[in-house]
Structures are given as C-alpha cells and as structure tokens.
C-alpha cells in the first residue's frame, strides 16, 4: 500500500522517513513490533495456563485421595457429547489457522469467511455444552443444597462434579470471550484493516483460540475418559 504509506508520512510532516501506518513509533520495524506482540501474548497465555493449572492441581490431588468417587463421577459424563465437542473444537482450531493464513496471504474474503466458520463451530460447542449442563440440572447433579447422587461416595462425587463445572465453566467462559474477540476481528477484516504486512490482531486472536482448544484437549480425557474402565475393577 504505497499510497497509504506516502499519505501517512505526509500527515506527520516532521518525519524524515515514510513508514507503514500500522508501525508504532517506538518500534524500529514491523517485524520487531510483531515479535513484541507475540511475546506479550504468550506471556498472557502462560498466565492463563497457571490459572487453569490451579484447578487441575485440585483435580489431581482429589483424584489421588478419592479415586472411587472419581470413577463414579466421570462415568456420569456423556462420552459421545464430549467426543463430538472435541472434534468440533479441534476443527475450529483448523479453521482459525486457515483464517490466519488467509490474512497472511492478503485474502480478505478468506479471512472473514474462515473467522465466521470458526465462530459457528465455537457456537456449536457451546450449544452442546449447554445440553450437557441441562442434563446435569435435570438429574439434580448441580453441586449445592439440592445435590442428589446415588452411591457410596456421594459427598466426594460432589467434589468431582464441582471441579467438572469449575473447569468446563471457565473453559466455556473463555469460549464466549473468544467468540466476541473473533467477531471484532472479523469486522476489522471486513473493513480492510489488515494487510499481509500487518495482521497482528488476527494472529493474536488465533493464539488465544488455540490455547482454549488446548485446555479442552486436557479436559476431555481427564474428566470424561481416564476412569471409564475402572468401574468393575
């Protein structure tokens, strides 16, 4: 976009050199600016990992203490719905990666369309999650005063289900935030705000979306799968 560069240089007047309009003044080059963004985003993601890590720590320790209850609790979860959601979410990571790729090669249409597909898949995930929660509600499996569970370890199963709601609930909250984020990015892409030289917001939202996918990659086996066969010993 040579015209934009020239116009920007003119607007500044005092600048001796022309530069890309997206380049902020405290960076030398666009590449350096992008490197800083990527690094900052990763530090944010590591903070998020530690945030989920605390809950996973609780999960691991209680699993050591109350293994029988963990077996009973995880057998209550619907492996089919969990499995479908895994495929949907990994699929949305693929479409997100393709959206970033479209931004890299400068395809505005591709970026917007892949972002929309990603958002639709995210929505499918949340709808399936809603029906899973609804089922738990109907069975009175919501932790609290009205919690009902038939079994010798009901109190401990309640801890498992509390962690299930805590982990998947926070994950779903991240999905909702990601959905809002992607709608803003899709709008910006539609408004021609990105170019192959500068598409950092698309890439950063991609990192966030893939991180949320990784959280689910751990939640699915830990909550739904690991104790499937241990019921009979």
């Amino acid at each position: 976009m040579p015209e934009a560069v020239a116009a920007h240089a003119e607007a500044h007047g005092h600048h001796a050199h022309a530069h890309h309009p997206a380049l902020q003044h405290h960076f030398e080059t666009l590449e350096q600016q992008k490197e800083a963004s990527v690094l900052g985003m990763w530090i944010f993601i590591i903070q998020e990992v530690m945030f989920f890590g605390g809950l996973l720590m609780a999960y691991f320790l209680y699993r050591v203490w109350y293994h029988e209850a963990w077996v009973e609790g995880s057998n209550e979860l619907d492996i089919v719905l969990g499995g479908i959601n895994t495929v949907v979410l990994i699929g949305s990571s693929l479409t997100m990666a393709l959206a970033v790729r479209s931004a890299q090669v400068g395809s505005k249409k591709g970026t917007v369309n892949w972002l929309i597909v990603t958002m639709v898949l995210g929505l499918v995930f949340l709808v399936i999650k809603f029906f899973e929660y609804k089922h738990k509600y109907d069975l009175n499996h919501i932790p609290g005063a009205n919690f009902v569970f038939e079994g010798p370890h009901a109190g401990q199963v309640q801890i498992f289900i509390s962690l299930y709601f805590g982990l998947t609930g926070l994950h779903a909250l991240h999905m909702v935030i990601g959905f809002v984020l992607l709608s803003v990015i899709a709008w910006m892409a539609h408004k021609d705000r990105f170019s192959p030289e500068w598409y950092t917001p698309v890439e950063m939202s991609g990192l966030y979306w893939h991180f949320v996918d990784i959280v689910w990659i751990f939640l699915f086996p830990l909550l739904y799968l690991v104790d499937r066969t241990h019921r009979l010993g």
Partner: protein, 128 residues
C-alpha cells in the same frame, strides 16, 4: 516476512489430532489398570504440542518466543511438584504417638469415631 504454511500442512495437522483423539478414546475403553491415566495424559500432551508447534506457529517463531513458551513447563512443574511433595509426604515422619497423619486427607461425610486416648497421652479436653 513470516512463514506461510501451505493449507495441506494444516489439514495434515488436523488429521493427526483426530487420529490421536481416536487413540485416546480407544485407550479409555481398554483397561490398562494404573496405566490408563499416564497414557491419556501422554496423548493429551502430544496433541497440545502439535497444536503449539503448528497451529500456533511456535516451530517458526524466534528463539526468545520458544524459550518463553517452554518456561511454562517450569512454572507448571513448580505448581504440581511442590504441591504434591507437600501433600504426599505428610505422615511420612510420625513422632511417637504423633498425629501427623491427621493432615493427610480430608474426610467428607461423618467423621470416624475418635480412637481412645493412649495411655500416658495428654488428658483430653473437658467436654463442654
């Protein structure tokens, strides 16, 4: 500027993740005893690594970014390692008539009846 991977490579990554998902589901329905948990965790870590390297472009990132990403493992090791060394080692060293075991596990539900006080132990607190 940055590395642009062909569409085909992203599809291959997706396929790999799907295969690993099938493997982890199949492993869950096979009784491996105590191995079910480490196997499921190993597959999840493999999947996460694939996502980080290819979808998140870390394979083509700078050394500094790679270092920061890897540092996450260190922080997680601190979180899990230090917490587990505390909880798992409680009760290893019990003094004579000591009760260090008491902190090992929280009991949910009615408490077990207290054991009768051993001879020579401190007098029990008077009932209110």
């Amino acid at each position: 500027m940055s590395h642009i991977a062909p569409v085909k490579s992203y599809v291959i990554v997706f396929g790999t993740l799907m295969v690993l998902t099938s493997v982890t589901v199949a492993a869950a329905f096979t009784n491996l005893g105590t191995l079910n948990f480490p196997v499921a965790l190993a597959i999840a870590i493999t999947k996460a690594t694939v996502v980080i390297l290819f979808f998140m472009h870390v394979k083509y990132s700078s050394k500094l970014t790679k270092f920061v990403v890897a540092s996450c493992l260190f922080f997680l090791a601190c979180l899990f390692g230090l917490t587990f060394t505390d909880y798992m080692s409680r009760g290893w060293f019990t003094s004579p008539r000591g009760t260090t075991m008491a902190g090992t596990q929280v009991t949910v539900g009615p408490a077990a009846p207290a054991a009768p006080a051993a001879e020579g132990a401190a007098a029990p607190a008077p009932e209110p």
